[in-house]
Amino acid sequence: MKIAVCVKRVPDMDVRFRIATDNVSVDEAGLKFDINDFDAWAVEAALQLRDKNAGSEVTVISLGPDVVQETIRKALSMGADRGIQLKADKVPFDGLAIARALAAELKTGGYDLILFGKMSPDTSNGVVGPMTAELLGLPCVSAISSLEIADGKGKAKRELEGAQEIVEFPLPAVLTVDEGLNTARLPSLKGIMAAKKKPLEVKPAQIPASQLTVRKLELPAERKAGRIVGEGAAAVPELVKLLQTEAKVL
């Protein structure tokens, strides 16, 4: 099986973000970056499939400037076989532009399976996987939380609001990965050493013009400071009164 996994380098979210002076980007100074969690689960899914199917290969693809090579190496150190950087000055916000650049590369690869994380927390748009599938004319199942592949066919589960879908699909296909599918392995020391020698090809990305313009970024209004109503069960009557008369939600 030939498997491709598209991964993105994203900042750690556990910080107070600052808007850069251009007003349309986040100030990256001091931010820590790593592979998107959903993408790490996609890499893990690919590695598990490769290890079950002799002769398989996992290719990791990332679009962006040279710093994304770190992200590709992370996936290689988890066990992926080779990497491709689609080199671009920056990653556009527009998912269609990203999907077109990825599809141009993916269509020549002869992949049986193309995996994505279901979304990235930075742009939080969650559209690149399904858009790429559509551009490639491939079946797509998004946000899967279980996966079985056998005999050129797959079966997956998707979590809906208060329900689950069981989905069957033929290969080749595009899948996007939700939390719960697996737990991503940590790179071993041996894996990290091996990753340094694995092939990482750099190709120029073809990024088309975007129909989306980020006009400005802002920090959301802080929530008004709340108050401690009281301690223990004795505070319940006061809380209920506030919910009725002030918040008007009861």
Binding site: P121, N125, E134, V167, V214, A233, A235
Partner: protein, 328 residues
């Protein structure tokens, strides 16, 4: 022509609340253009019976596509049908929902149209030739204002940011065929398993009660369920710590990698307030927190806090809510 298209999400024989929200959002846009809303209603035979309701919410035209194979969602049929209609209708904008189904469908339709898309949209404005939307980034810690220059502008609304509003229009029914024969679809949803009969969904419930590690054991979620039952319009959620431990299913997780909710009232029970959790609930209108640690970060975002033992406070609150509901 600057008519606006709305995709009405269905599940089995029912229109989902996000479907009415999409029609309402489309109506607001169409009123700015002085144009019509055309809603696409796709589902099993009988779904056309919901067309009149969509007229009540502002659809001038309801395109009804009925097929026995559409009792379950079919990504390829829905994509082909929506994309064909949007192409032939020459719409200025197409409105979808940022639900599990909408997240699957809307980007596929947009890609087929060669249009860019913004999902998880908080608000929409028309400015000159552009449609301008607000969209949360970085787990809601940054809000982007984005203008969409392409036509149609494809957007997917975040659930619960627009209340479905009645604004009666003609709701003229046009019957149509699926964009592809359902039997020809490669991806097949063979089963939709409903989780818990009649249980309210987290994204749609006006009240969400969520439990964390402070509940100490899976069985103590009964306290949270009892409180939800006392409200009668509440859904139950959980933190990632709790779903990782298997106390609750992953689908119930509220947070950065889980569900995003913005109910009228959010009650955090034994939740410390990790960043990953706050990302999923900080846009709730009123937040209540009950936690024994007065320094827990959850109290920084809570409108009302009670410092105390959840095993004492929650049963008392459940009783008080039951009483309050009785007098309504």
């Amino acid at each position: 022509m600057a008519d606006v298209f709305a995709f009405v999400e269905t599940r089995g024989p029912d229109v989902r609340k996000v479907g009415l929200e999409a029609v309402t959002a489309a109506r607001q846009l169409a009123d700015k253009f002085g144009s019509e809303v055309h809603a696409l209603l796709l589902g099993p035979p009988g779904i056309g019976g919901k067309a009149a309701q969509l007229g009540q919410y502002g659809a001038d035209v309801v395109v009804v596509v009925e097929h026995a194979a559409l009792a379950n969602y079919s990504p390829e049929v829905a994509t082909a049908t929506a994309a064909d209609r949007i192409k032939s209708g020459g719409y200025r904008a197409a409105v979808f929902s940022t639900s599990a189904q909408g997240r699957d469908l809307a980007p596929r339709v947009a890609a087929r149209l060669g249009a860019s898309i913004v999902t998880d949209v908080l608000s929409v404005e028309v400015e000159g030739d552009s449609i301008v939307v607000r969209h949360p980034m970085n787990i809601g810690k940054v809000i982007a204002t984005i203008s969409i220059s392409g036509t149609p502008a494809v957007i997917a609304m975040r659930p619960n940011v627009i209340a479905p509003a009645q604004n009666a229009k003609a709701g003229r029914v046009e019957n149509a065929q699926p964009g592809i024969e359902p039997a020809a679809a490669k991806v097949k949803v063979i089963e939709t398993k409903q989780g818990g009969g009649g249980k309210l969904d987290l994204a749609e419930a006006p009240v969400v009660i969520a439990g964390g590690r402070g509940l100490k054991a899976a069985e103590n979620f009964k306290l949270v369920e009892d409180l939800a039952a006392a409200f009668g319009n509440a859904a139950v959620g959980a933190t990632r710590a709790v779903t990782d431990d298997g106390w609750r299913p992953h689908a119930d997780q509220i947070g950065q990698t889980g569900r995003l909710v913005s109910p009228e009232l959010y009650i955090a029970v034994g939740i410390s307030g990790a960043v990953q959790h706050l990302a999923g609930m900080r846009t709730s209108k009123t937040i209540v927190a009950v936690n024994k640690d007065k320094d827990a970060p959850i109290f920084k975002v809570a409108d009302y806090g009670i410092v105390g033992d959840v095993f004492e406070v929650i049963p008392a609150l459940t009783e008080a809510v039951r009483e309050a509901k009785k007098h309504h």
